[in-house]
């Protein structure tokens, strides 16, 4: 092997070692966070509990605020929004079920295509709830859209877009999967097909 070929091998070895070190370091950091059961206790409350955590962060403890930030393997930030009947709905209401949080808007063409599949997924899976979060649109507009589509899944209104900001939504649709314990499993920016939704759901179930 000449020098150039050796350099290719060396670069590959260094990159593998670097990635191993980086991911091992990340894993170690995750081990430092509270155990899953204590995390579950933290997310067991409603939005008031989270507000307390944020207040605690502002006044005393910086680390508590991180628990409201978005990160895979950590509790999904809880939120309470109004549904189309004007009732309060929290993410934590669905503990014990998988939740697919879908951020959408009536003006989004791909959301329109995805909606029937989300409805079908919600209907066909007892252990999954599709929670559709409409972002910053008029209630009447959303009501008409849902009524026309005949969709059965719960729809909540993120009127000021704060939940979408918390969940780093930069385009519609964006979906997140949350497990039965309220832990954020991951996000999918963009439209999913029914096949993809099932594939991911099977993967999530198989992982437990």
């Amino acid at each position: 092997m000449n020098k150039k070929v050796l350099a290719i091998v060396l670069v590959a070895v260094v990159l593998v070692a670097g990635l191993f070190y980086l991911t091992a370091f990340r894993d170690d950091k995750n081990e430092d966070i509270p155990s899953e059961s204590s995390i579950s206790d933290n997310v067991d409350g409603n939005v008031e509990n989270n507000e307390e955590i944020v207040e605690g962060h502002e006044e005393h403890d910086h680390e508590h605020y991180i628990e409201t930030d978005i990160e895979i393997g950590k509790p999904a930030p809880d939120f309470t929004l109004l549904n189309l009947d004007g009732e309060e709905v929290s993410l934590s209401d669905y503990r014990g079920q998988y939740v697919l949080i879908n951020f959408w808007a009536t003006s989004c063409k791909y959301c329109d295509i995805e909606m029937p599949d989300l409805d079908r997924l919600d209907e066909e899976n007892d252990d999954l709830i599709v929670l559709a979060v409409n972002v910053m649109e008029e209630k009447s507009l959303v009501e008409n859209y849902i009524k026309e589509g005949g969709y059965k899944f719960p729809v909540v209104l993120d009127e000021d877009g704060k939940v979408a900001i918390t969940y780093l939504v930069s385009s519609f649709p964006t979906s997140y999967f949350v497990d039965k314990e309220g832990i954020l499993l991951g996000g999918v920016p963009g439209m999913m097909t029914y096949a993809q939704m099932n594939q991911l759901l099977d993967g999530i179930r198989g992982d437990e």
């Binding site: 070929v5 290719i8 590959a12 990159l15 930030d69 895979i72 993809q196």
Partner: protein, 194 residues
């Protein structure tokens, strides 16, 4: 730290998959160019072939996934066009790449075995690096065949790294045209067995 994206600013969102794909794609392009010179082949032709293989490999990876999971697409053939990095197949990409290479070797009047022995190196290199994206993208990890078993990612990465080293070493030592395909078949079989 935001673990969903590698980089996110306003409407710009770069996923970990895209970041890894870009990084390994660029490095593989450089490696192909270096090897073209080493093997005394036309560098510009090799670069052209690399770009074609990249596109064909991506399409093949998607078609491979569709064929392997055809029951998911029955009655919804249009959804085949809905691409995401969660639904690609490594085997589909490799097979389509080899088929494309066979056609391109005729078109560019270059020996197929020589081309294969060049392009398996960036292929092994890309997998060695890109497999680590599973550690960053949890959903991708769950939807992959590798699953969430400890150290499997390291094992796969090291396996492809060893395949690359073996290929580079034996290429000059053993003048046998079957060495490259044998290493490729063995490493791909081990990937799916693991």
């Amino acid at each position: 730290m935001n673990s969903i994206s590698f980089f996110s600013y306003k409407s710009i969102n770069i996923s970990y998959f895209m970041a890894f794909a870009l990084f390994s794609g660029i490095l593989s392009y450089i490696i192909s160019s270096i090897l073209a010179k080493e093997y005394k082949m036309d560098k510009s032709k090799i670069q052209d072939i690399y770009m074609i293989l990249l596109i064909v490999g991506f399409i093949g990876a998607r078609l491979g996934y569709v064929l392997m999971n055809f029951n998911l697409f029955k009655g919804k053939l249009l959804s085949i066009l809905s691409l995401s990095h969660y639904n690609l197949s490594l085997l589909g990409g490799a097979v389509s790449g080899i088929l494309a290479l066979a056609i391109l070797s005729r078109k560019y009047k270059m020996e197929f075995n020589n081309l294969l022995s060049i392009f398996v190196i960036p292929f092994y290199f890309s997998i060695t690096i890109s497999i680590w994206v599973l550690k960053f993208d949890y959903l991708m990890l769950m939807s992959s065949s590798i699953g969430k078993r400890e150290n499997v990612i390291l094992l796969v990465s090291v396996m492809f790294l060893l395949a690359m080293i073996l290929q580079l070493y034996l290429e000059n030592k053993v003048k046998n045209k079957y060495i490259t395909p044998i290493i490729l078949v063995v490493v791909m079989a081990l990937y799916y067995v693991i």
